[in-house]
Amino acid sequence: MSFDLGVLITDVAKIDSFSDMANKLGLKGFAVVGLQSEPLKTITADMQVCNRVILHGKSINSVRKQIDKIRRKAMIVSVPLRSIEVTNWAAEDKRVDLLTVDPTQDNRLRDTTAHLASITNTHLEIQIAPLLKSSGLNRSKILKSYRESVTTAMDAGMDVVLTSGAIHPMGLRSSVAMAHIGILLGMDRAYADSAASSLPMSIIERNMKKLQPGFVSSGVEILQKEEEK
């Protein structure tokens, strides 16, 4: 069972078709960008949809303001790899879950950013959608960008998660298929398996704990006596 953290649909009506396809592929759920108010919603007994927010701010201040507003409403918060300042700030901030590689941009993942992210447990996100849409030289350039980022992240101890980045249900892949793309990107078999299935699930589980009302910080929780409940 696995969770796809990167479904990029813009229409609520498409959630059902994605849910059907995800069910066929054995996924437990998927994350959509800004289409629902609740962090996690159960559609059917074995299918969940969670809310994801992508922070597109150009300066640290604008991203900081956005994250203050949305962190309690979103299950997943991601920042695309753009300017060094914003990327390093995001890598250091524990509220950011994912740093997304954008193969169309020249900004690459730096060693220093990866080290910061490994300390705060921020994951590198690789979306497979650009690989499915391209071929030949264009795909080769995307593969270069992804393989370099994956190697930098793995060397620095930063975890990598594989997501679909799908805008169409046929863009979804099963966790086994995702793992094979992970191997294509330079991961070993065991790492690719975890990048496709166990790591996304662990992010969801970690954030579910964080979003509980009694949570203060990791290891600190407000406990209530029986009569106070």
């Binding site: 396809m21 592929l25 249900p169 046929m170 099963s174 086994v176 298929a177 094979h180």
Partner: protein, 102 residues
């Protein structure tokens, strides 16, 4: 000449649109394999579709053991075949066809 071990892969091709014939599917696999890994790797894979049901999308393909990962990766990155959006799902691998049905 040393005999190369073969592997059989049970797969399902999810598709949205017109049904895809086995020849179209085979050509798409070969093109993707050739594009990703080059002519020598594609030739060494000895890729062959043994069985394919166009209505259900389920099928069995055969390739050499060293090229199995490459064949699956090449199939997984196929986004569309002849304008039909597809999603390749590897289900099970085995050393024998009989093993796939167990």
């Amino acid at each position: 000449m040393k005999k190369v071990r073969r592997r059989y892969l049970l797969f399902k091709l999810h598709q949205e649109g017109a049904a895809i014939e086995d020849k179209q599917l085979s050509l798409a696999f070969w093109k993707s394999l050739l594009s990703l890994y080059g002519e020598i790797q594609a030739a060494d894979s000895k890729l062959y579709i043994i069985d394919y049901d166009a209505s259900t999308g389920e099928g069995i393909l055969q390739c050499t053991l060293p090229s199995l990962q490459q064949v699956i990766a090449a199939a997984v990155v196929i986004g569309e075949i002849n304008g039909t959006a597809v999603s390749f799902e590897p289900k099970k691998t085995s050393g024998t066809i009989k093993g796939l049905n167990r």
